[in-house]
């Protein structure tokens, strides 16, 4: 069976047309998956410019539409789409902070990625950014919004936390124990990943992609590989695609099990947390047998995949029984269930407006899953996408539990007919388009949600630009919305039920 990646439509448009075209696509059911800026040098077909790519996707059927606009390279300005798409507004702020592209008419033009101490006027992704300068004069104050009123007080938490978690500052405005407003200030982990990709070969880009977010090695590696393969015209063999689908489910499984246990621990029911840890350890050992790495690095490679072993049916069944028993005990415990129910509800309308993805969206009634919309393999009837409408911690717990069930069934189904081995495809017509910039897009349903990666490869075969959009980038704004009117002691539980990545958000 030949597998053809979905065709991407690329349209070069004038800047002024952008909002109109965007409205059309969004009304037709597309979502804005990614916005990326590119430096076109003097030698580019259309001359020197700062080119901005808006990628709109929808599915099924898998549809990908790109709008390319070319801006003045010296003073780039862009009409904002913030009033049409909330993620669009955030992408624009990110682009402004990294490239200096001014979004004209943006309703919320605060800094986003920009660390407080980055020197004024220094944009790390611009052509002449040079070496990282020392911290300097901040670009004006950036105060928190103060909530005023009788009995309102603030609780600042972080960026350094008590547990082994990533850095983020949370500012709660509270009356009594009830949260009036939460401001999450992230962006303490800017590593310049997108910049580090530049100039690497596609092979050497893979280790970087696997490390974008440590718990999503397969998801990010796969999105990256799909994008590179589209750009280089590689046909991936059937077995390799099946192995990739298998690895993706193994990753979903160990992360969901860890979260199910952590949610129990956070309500003080330690015994289920301990058992979930035990099951997760079993899964991690299985991962090492399958790929040689506990977090599944090295399984997905550009053009193919490699498996050292295939998970056996009996072992998956035993793990599945254990997982179901932990879930059953958690849901049967009245206090645990009471703590989950109604806590930190995210209404469906808010989830839709904010552009939420993954289990956060599916727990608020949105049936979004890239395995359906942008399938990389024909999963068959074993693929079920659970959707709950509660929007609370319980719904997110249930969605995870049911997805773990589906993943177990999928792993069993995909492992049949697969043997250990390494598969790699060859470029169809090597070197035929040598010299031109080639682009590709990879869309993958990672365990947290849909990952979109867009790659441009220069004529010499080196990576010219890699833009990664982790689902956490879309889901972080939903956390404060869900927390309105939640009580402070329930915040850690609510936060864990979202379990968003800081590293994947702040590249």
């Amino acid at each position: 069976m030949e597998h053809h990646p979905a065709l991407r439509t690329v349209t070069d448009i004038d800047v002024a047309e952008l909002p109109g075209r965007a409205v059309g696509l969004l009304r037709a059911g597309h979502r804005l998956a990614l916005v990326a800026a590119h430096h076109d040098a003097d030698g580019a077909p259309l001359g020197r410019a700062l080119r901005v790519v808006h990628l709109f996707v929808s599915g099924p059927p898998d549809t990908r539409t790109e709008l390319h606009v070319r801006l003045d390279a010296d003073g780039p300005e862009l009409p904002t789409l913030a009033h049409l798409s909330f993620p669009g507004g955030r992408f624009e702020r990110e682009m402004r902070d990294l490239y200096g592209v001014v979004p004209v008419g943006h309703p919320l033009p605060h800094r986003l990625v920009r660390h407080f101490h980055w020197p004024r006027g220094w944009y790390p992704m611009s052509r002449n950014a040079g070496d990282v300068p020392p911290f300097a004069e901040p670009e004006g104050p950036y105060p928190f919004l103060e909530v005023e009123g009788d009995g309102v007080y603030e609780i600042p938490v972080g960026p350094v936390h008590a547990g082994l978690i990533e850095p983020g500052h949370f500012r709660f405005s509270v009356v009594g124990e009830t949260i009036i407003k939460l401001k999450a200030r992230l962006w303490f982990t800017h590593k310049g990943v997108e910049k580090l990709f530049e100039g690497r070969t596609a092979e050497r880009g893979l280790p970087l992609a696997e490390r974008i977010s440590g718990d999503t090695a397969v998801g990010h590696a796969l999105a990256y590989c799909l994008a590179v393969e589209e750009a280089t015209g590689v046909q991936v063999p059937e077995e390799a695609r099946r192995a990739r689908a298998l690895l993706l489910e193994l990753e979903r499984l160990h992360n969901h099990v860890a979260d199910l246990g952590a949610l129990c621990t956070d309500v003080g029911h330690g015994i289920l947390g301990a058992h979930a840890q035990r099951i997760r350890e079993g899964l991690l050992r299985l991962n090492r047998e399958v790929t040689g790495h506990r977090l599944l690095r090295g399984g997905v490679v550009p053009g193919g995949a490699q498996l050292r072993a295939v998970p056996g049916r009996a072992r998956m069944r035993a793990l599945g029984d254990d997982i179901r028993s932990v879930v059953g005990l958690a849901l049967g415990h009245t206090t645990v269930r009471d703590r989950f129910t109604g806590t930190a509800g995210l209404p469906a309308a808010a989830a839709r407006d904010l552009g939420c993805l993954g289990y956060v969206a599916r727990a608020s009634g949105l049936a979004l899953d890239a395995r359906l919309a942008h399938p990389l393999y024909d999963y068959g009837p074993a693929l079920e996408v659970p959707v709950h409408t509660g929007g609370d911690v319980l719904a997110r717990f249930l969605v995870r539990a049911e997805e773990a069930d589906t993943s177990l069934a999928l792993v069993e189904h995909l492992a049949e007919g697969l043997d250990a081995g390494a598969w790699a495809g060859r470029p169809q017509a090597p070197g035929s388009r040598r010299g031109a910039v080639r682009a590709g897009v990879g869309i993958v349903e990672g365990w947290r949600g849909t990952i979109t990666t867009r790659v441009e490869i220069a004529g010499g075969g080196e990576l010219a630009r890699v833009k990664v959009a982790d689902p956490s980038f879309f889901n972080w704004p939903a956390l404060p919305v869900a927390l309105a009117d939640t009580i402070v002691p329930d915040f850690p539980l609510a936060n864990k039920s979202f379990n968003l990545s800081y590293a994947g958000n702040d590249l």
Binding site: Y153, H269, H333
Partner: protein
């Protein structure tokens, strides 16, 4: 009496260590060993004392006050013998007041740090304390009714002489109410989670976040002693068998041994129960405590009606 205080001081960390070990084993972990709290205390004692800038006497005094009040309570409560020099002043109301003094001292220290967590922990602790203290008072009051005295030594020796009293409806209700109150007072599940690292969910721990070194050692020792004393009090009131009624060394030694066994059993049961409990939502805690208050109130009422007075 001195033996009793020494036993509480030395035994309290061991009790905590034993409870943690029971919990670890039940959860399938190896555990750190029974002596770990003592090793922690030794480590903290060797550290330099650090006080946050801007804190005043309330912050510095609180750990001492906590340990001191608990030690006095340990001396007053008839844990091993009812015939102690302090027996005459082991008044129920005095004991509850001393416990409250320790709690309030720590809450003031939490406020003194001026941090959001200190204030938050203090506010939550006072909310819980305000509901717990009346329950303890009322429960022990119900038990005191048959003895006609609020003197704890008199209540315990009354229970020794007349064991039927313990199994009466009033006695059972009061014991149940007291047990819940002890859980809340000592910050155990389901009211507070003593093992959490999540500062936003903490009650007792949030209040003492700023303590370090020897001060933290005192705070921890104080909390462990409170747990030991309250479990001991519960054991003495509900199962007073073996408590010496004289001050003879042999009888006191036997009583201390029995006390250790009783408290260890109670601690192990509590630790085992905690494995299967989860932490209540903060706003449900008052419901639980109101329930225990109701039990105590019923106990008082029952002891009036059933004794026909």
């Amino acid at each position: 009496m001195a033996a009793q205080v020494a036993a509480v001081c030395a035994g309290a960390p061991l009790l905590t260590g034993m409870m943690r070990q029971v919990r670890a084993r039940l959860e399938g972990r190896a555990g750190a060993g029974v002596g770990q709290p003592w090793r922690d205390l030794r480590k903290l004692m060797r550290k330099e004392a650090v006080t946050p800038q801007g804190t005043g006497p309330a912050f510095r005094m609180a750990p001492l006050l906590l340990v001191a009040t608990t030690a006095v309570v340990a001396a007053l409560v008839p844990l091993a013998s009812t015939a102690t020099p302090a027996g005459g002043s082991s008044d129920l109301i005095l004991v509850v007041a001393l416990l409250a003094l320790g709690t309030v001292a720590l809450a003031l220290a939490g406020l003194d740090t001026g941090t959001a967590f200190g204030g938050m922990g203090a506010s939550r602790e006072m909310t819980v304390a305000a509901l717990v203290e009346p329950t303890i008072l009322l429960a022990v009051f119900a038990l005191s009714m048959p003895s006609g005295s609020t003197n704890l030594a008199a209540i315990v020796s009354g229970g020794l002489r007349d064991p039927d009293r313990l199994a009466s409806p009033a006695g059972l209700l009061a014991t149940a109410a007291l047990a819940v109150a002890v859980l809340a007072e000592t910050g155990r599940l389901p009211v507070d989670n003593p093992t959490t690292h999540l500062e936003l969910t903490m009650v007792h721990e949030a209040m003492v976040l700023e303590y370090a070194g020897p001060d933290l050692a005192l705070v921890e020792l104080g909390a462990q002693m409170r747990l030991a004393v309250l479990l001991g009090l519960l054991a003495s009131l509900a199962a007073p068998w073996g408590i010496a009624t004289t001050a003879r060394p042999a009888a006191v030694a036997l009583a201390l041994l029995l006390l250790a066994v009783k408290v260890a059993v109670l601690g192990a049961v509590l630790a085992a129960a905690e494995v299967f409990w989860a932490k209540l939502r903060l706003f449900r805690v008052p419901e639980l405590l109101a329930g225990s208050f109701l039990l105590a109130l019923l106990a008082v009422t029952a002891s009036y009606f059933l004794t026909g007075e």
